[in-house]
């Protein structure tokens, strides 16, 4: 019989009792809130300085003409009206959408499969740690590594392809293959991490459900469909939302490989924002594009949460 005691059970014993506080009879009521604020302060200061303040500045910049080197001057909604008729903005959104579709699709399916295998078949810690390895590699390294492995003339992948009689492919230099290639590279990098999150979710499903189902003669596939998937829904929704937002923010892999990709076939929205801000020095316009992305991501998240009824679990 299988159980998940090691993971879900509460700690076996409470914290060691402080002799000083027990001796004085009933504990004096203590208000920790002041101290709590102090401990929160570093995080709050960090949040304010590195997130809140830049966001507010970003909103302001999006309403200005700002080149990084001049003083921002207010131009009202000019940047936003320009945005609507900017073909490159829409192209980069379309490219990003394509990327997200391929990346999230493959990544979630693979991760679900892996998590189910780990859940029902083996719980080897070594295996779990191994799955995380690609996620630990910095994204820039991932980009460079795969760029070399996928090289048309010297890459290992094309070497393998030739060995089995295939034609060498310029994976990143072909405008049709470049975006799917990047999406799959990031699937490689993030599947293990996603699988672990889903696996942790699966551990919350009471094991007795599986026991009774198997007593009733249900096979593994049926249990996966009828028990695992429905009860995993809130976790799956959360993982989907988080990885979708992350996926929309694809930047490093694309930025590293961009120079070998023709006609900007992988010029995703983040790269477009970056170029507008730091290559063309249109900080104001870049901020407007970023605000549009915030809006899109907010909407997508809301829709997803609603569709998957993420806030309700069938377990309770």
């Amino acid at each position: 019989m299988r159980n998940s005691l090691a993971v879900t059970a509460p700690p076996a014993s409470g914290p060691p009792i402080d002799p000083g506080s027990v001796a004085g009879g009933p504990r004096r009521h203590r208000d920790d809130r002041r101290v709590a604020w102090l401990f929160l302060a570093p995080v709050l200061v960090g949040f304010a300085v590195f997130y809140l303040y830049p966001t507010v500045r970003g909103v302001w910049y999006s309403l200005t003409d700002y080149s990084l080197l001049n003083t921002p001057s207010y131009v009202g909604a000019d940047n936003y009206t320009k945005l609507i008729s900017d073909a490159q903005f829409w192209t980069s959104l379309r490219i990003t959408g394509y990327y997200v579709l391929v990346n999230i699709g493959t990544q979630t399916l693979l991760a679900l499969g892996l998590a189910a295998l780990m859940h029902r078949l083996t719980r080897s810690v070594v295996l779990r740690a191994t799955l995380l390895l690609p996620w630990l590699v910095p994204n820039v390294t991932v980009g460079l590594l795969w760029m070399w492995m996928l090289d048309t003339n010297l890459g290992f992948v094309n070497h393998l392809l030739s060995a089995i009689g295939g034609e060498p492919q310029g994976f990143l230099q072909n405008s049709d293959l470049a975006m799917p290639s990047i999406a799959l590279i990031n699937t490689w990098a993030y599947t293990g991490y996603t699988a672990l999150l889903l696996y942790a979710g699966m551990l919350q499903i009471p094991p007795h459900l599986y026991e009774s189902a198997s007593l009733d003669g249900a096979g593994e596939f049926r249990m996966f469909r009828r028990i695992t998937l429905p009860l995993l829904r809130p976790i799956l929704a959360l993982v989907l939302v988080v990885s979708l937002i992350g996926s929309f923010q694809i930047f490093d892999t694309v930025a590293v490989t961009e120079k070998v990709v023709p006609v900007g076939a992988t010029r995703v929205i983040y790269l477009y924002i970056y170029k507008q801000a730091f290559t063309y020095f249109h900080m104001g316009y870049a901020a407007a594009v970023a605000m549009a992305l915030v809006l899109i991501l907010g909407l997508l998240t809301a829709v997803q949460m609603w569709l998957l009824r993420a806030s309700r679990s069938d377990l309770t």
Partner: protein, 457 residues
């Protein structure tokens, strides 16, 4: 073991926690501040000037200049920062935006307009007038590249031109290579030479009707497609040799002419090389760059700048190479000539010292030192002579670059305008879309030209 702090009375432990938390907060705040406080200092008459450049190969030469400079001006020391080309301009811009840019930086003709427009470069014309700097000591035209509306934004430091480089093992017969002709119709004797150097898996060359373009072992020509809006490393030189001009006026034109049929013909000819199998398809090129592909012996000819002399004739080269002048087109033989300058930051705290340093960098005293090291052709003519002598002493034949530079009407300047970065992206995208077969040359270039000229409205 229980740490002693837990045994203290409650109040005391609380205040400790308070203090600890406060200390953490302060530390968290102070760290980033401490990291930003390094800038040029003025230490009792002693001045440290920050100087930026991107080429690591040139660093030793300019360090030698700085040593000479400090010998003559003991109160001024030069602090070098070398950043790779890929990061150089972004770093510079962020430093400018934060008001802590280097006092003097190496500038590029195509990149400096944006800094002029945003008032970041000091006008040195008053200094030039006061010190009576002789602008005739420089290679013709270079000093004027850095002038706008009577204001001068730098003194020239070096120049470069373009030439053909070829692998002497793959092109054993060098006869006639100094007199190559080219036209976008049949490609002239240049295309013949390229075809002859292309070899397929069966050992047939490109002139053989049975040449198999799907199993090419050696490409006759290796083009550069990440070449911005200028095509300095290939299409630009040939297009100008075909009668193309980029702009209504250079520098500081406001109307580009990328829709010129003479450019479309040139790009069309390059596409034709690919279709014939004489040049690699875009997705069959290696991602590691042209120098490495040439070094692997997979291509015979390519067009390179004089800054690569060390790469091809130096000790690190894995193949034997030689240079030849670019082919002569319908409008003559043309090479892009480009120059770098040294710019002074408008916000520098030490304009006088910075000017002394820039004046020294632009003088024969420094450029002769640089010339002796033969890493670039210095802008001062005597420095170029030194560089040539150094190359000759080392047995390197670099005539192809210098002959073309001195030939009458043999050079053209690359376009200098506002919006350089965006123009670069738009035109490069258009040309790549032709190369990968998504669009016809004339259509793609017409569209790009409209987009480019839209930037100037």
């Amino acid at each position: 073991m229980t740490p002693p702090a837990l045994k203290l009375p409650e109040r005391n432990s609380m205040s400790r926690r308070l203090r600890a938390a406060a200390a953490l907060t302060v530390a968290a705040l102070a760290l980033p501040l401490a990291a930003c406080s390094a800038e040029s200092g003025d230490d009792g008459g002693k001045v440290t000037l920050n100087y930026w450049l991107w080429d690591d190969k040139q660093l030793p030469a300019y360090q030698a200049c700085a040593d000479e400079f400090t010998k003559a001006n003991p109160n001024t020391t030069i602090k070098f920062t070398q950043t790779a080309w890929q990061q150089y301009w972004q770093n510079l811009t962020t430093q400018l935006a934060s008001g802590s840019a280097p006092d003097v930086w190496t500038d590029h003709a195509s990149y400096y307009p944006q800094f002029v427009t945003s008032n970041q470069i000091l006008d040195i014309q008053p200094f030039v007038d006061k010190d009576k700097v002789d602008l005739n000591q420089y290679q013709a035209g270079l000093a004027d590249l850095f002038v706008k509306d009577g204001k001068r934004y730098g003194l020239p430091k070096d120049w470069d031109t373009m030439a053909l480089v070829y692998n002497t093992k793959l092109v054993p017969d060098a006869s006639g290579l100094d007199k190559l002709t080219w036209n976008p119709g049949d490609g002239g004797s240049f295309e013949q030479a390229i075809a002859k150097a292309s070899v397929d898996a069966q050992g047939r060359n490109g002139l053989d009707p049975a040449f198999d373009k799907n199993t090419v072992k050696v490409y006759g020509f290796l083009p550069e497609w990440a070449d911005g809006s200028q095509g300095q490393n290939g299409w630009g030189d040939l297009a100008v040799a075909n009668g193309f001009t980029y702009l209504d006026k250079n520098p500081w034109g406001t109307k580009y002419k990328y829709d010129d049929p003479k450019l479309a013909e040139t790009i069309g000819w390059f596409k034709h090389l690919i279709d014939k199998g004489y040049a690699p398809k875009f997705d069959k090129q290696s991602t590691i760059g042209r120098d490495a592909t040439m070094d692997s012996g997979q291509a015979a000819f390519t067009i390179v700048g004089s800054w690569t002399i060390g790469t091809y004739l130096g000790t690190g080269a894995k193949q034997q190479y030689a240079f030849a002048q670019l082919p002569t087109g319908p409008a003559g033989r043309k090479t892009a000539i480009n120059g770098l300058s040294d710019a002074i930051y408008a916000g520098t705290k030490h304009p006088n010292q910075a000017w002394s340093w820039v004046k020294f960098l632009g003088s024969s005293a420094c450029q002769d030192i640089v010339g002796d090291k033969a890493v670039v052709f210095p802008a001062v003519k005597s420095g170029t002579d030194k560089a040539l002598a150094a190359h000759k002493a080392a047995g390197r034949n670099v005539q192809a670059f210098t002959d073309q530079a001195t030939a009458s009407g043999g050079t053209f300047f690359l376009p200098i305008t506002d919006h350089g970065n965006e123009v670069s992206q738009i035109v490069q995208d258009a040309i790549q879309s032709v190369v990968v077969g998504q669009a016809a040359p004339a259509d793609a270039l017409k569209k790009a030209n409209d987009q480019v000229n839209g930037l100037f409205k």
